[in-house]
Amino acid sequence: MNEDKNKLIVRKIENGTVIDRIPPGKALRILEVLGIDANYPYTVALAIRVLSKKMSLKDVVKIKGKELTENEVHKLSFIAPGASVNIIQNFEVQRKIQLEIPDHVEEFIKCLNPNCVSNSHEPITSSFDIISKKPLILRCIYCDRVMEDKYLSGKL
């Protein structure tokens, strides 16, 4: 039953990305982060709150013609930890990435401290240790300030 339901929505794609086992309700946010909107020229399939094989709810996103950058994978890992990213080429899964909040991230987010050296004109990039994954807490390796879930949710 459930298998059939999924098949209705998600036909196989030739080239692109399939993001599966997304925590329910996060699919739209993922598209937003990836910059995919109504103007995206290729097929995008979106399933929100479908039953997984394990009988729990999940979201699924299939994006034709899209390959994720390293930076995008990082960002998605914060929004949808536990999801899996499948890079598809010629209808085959080329690469499978398990989204997991890393222990350390660089560059993709700015430190909230305006006086932090990573926000001034220096030959360095922002850099954070993740000191807690639930609740999410990032610590700047430069100024030591921490950024918490409620602040981060608007930034990621």
Binding site: C116, V117, I124, C140, Y142, D144, R145, V146
Partner: protein
């Protein structure tokens, strides 16, 4: 020994701290025998934010060691106002001096030093982040006056949010055993979340209160800092709190005989002049200790025996 830079007390071991204190105490005993130790060495003092005390204390320390000093104070005369990066400033400094002291309003520059400085660099205060040499002279003073830092109870009072000395002092205290801390401040000026997390990671026990009178009988050290008027959006809040965060003679009636009062100075009204002649008052000795501790730091970081 190869010490790199000093921007945070967190990375300093208790052993090294105790080594520095031992050396500072030998210097204090016989300063003259150290008068030639840094002959031919240059200390650069770069103060991108104005400072009197810390800069003079460092300069005095280097001169007493027979070394020379160069530098500037306030960002207006430096090339940072022309947009030079801190990394470039550090690279240039490598050729001008053997050791440098830097005060800067930008935080996290210790990491820049790690990457770009080949001479040892010591923070003379970094934004609101840390002021490690102040904390070292505070701890030295406690050790000297009480004979130990382990097993003490300390009340730290005033502006715990913007005072850069506070995180350094707390990180330093966290290295010692069985230290109990009372944080005494208005809720709006309580320690920052990152500092709190570091203390939890390091197992330093602290309690929070708004009134020093409630805890004064327990204290071995009362560490007072000033509330800064410019930190209060509403000046009436400042006026109201100023009185509550002032130590009065009568507050000391319940204090232990051996309790000491410290203050990083400058003070405003939080410690009235009438307290100066009391046995508790150690803040001027504390300032004097700054020179011995900074002399010890210069020797250690230059690797001079």
């Amino acid at each position: 020994m190869n010490l790199e830079h000093l921007f945070t007390i967190r990375r300093m071991s208790k052993n090294l701290m105790e080594d520095i204190f031992d050396l500072a105490s030998s210097i204090e005993e016989k300063p003259d025998s150290f008068a030639e130790k840094c002959k031919g060495k240059i200390l650069a003092a770069l103060f991108f934010e104005p400072s009197t005390r810390t800069r003079l204390s460092f300069e005095s320390a280097m001169l007493r060691l027979g070394g020379q000093i160069l530098g500037f104070s306030s960002a207006k005369v430096s090339s940072s106002s022309k947009g030079e990066s801190i990394a470039d400033t550090f690279r240039m400094l490598n050729h001008y001096a053997h050791i440098a002291v830097i005060r800067h309003y930008i935080e996290g520059i210790g990491e820049i030093a790690k990457e770009f400085a080949t001479i040892p660099m010591i923070s003379g205060g970094t934004g609101t982040q840390e002021h490690p040499t102040q904390a070292l002279l505070d701890l030295y003073t406690i050790r000297k006056e009480l004979g130990k830092v382990d097993d003490i109870t300390i009340g730290i009072m005033g502006d715990l949010l913007y005072g850069r000395t506070i995180p350094s002092l707390l990180f330093g205290l966290a290295k010692y055993d069985n230290v109990k801390v009372h944080l005494i401040s208005p809720p709006a000026l309580h320690i920052r979340k990152n500092v709190k997390l570091r203390l939890e990671e390091n197992g330093l026990a602290f309690r929070v209160t708004e009134n020093h009178k409630e805890v004064i009988d327990e204290l071995d050290v009362l560490y007072v800092t000033r509330l800064q008027k410019e930190r209060f959006p509403d000046p009436t809040d400042y006026e109201r709190l100023k009185g509550a965060y002032q130590i009065r003679k009568s507050d000391l009636r319940k204090a232990k005989d051996s309790m000491i009062i410290l203050h990083p100075l400058p003070r405003v009204s939080e410690i009235p002049f009438e307290l100066d002649e009391l046995k508790y008052a150690k803040y001027f000795d504390q300032a004097k200790n700054g020179v011995w501790v900074r002399m010890a730091l210069i020797l250690k970081y230059l690797g001079v025996d």
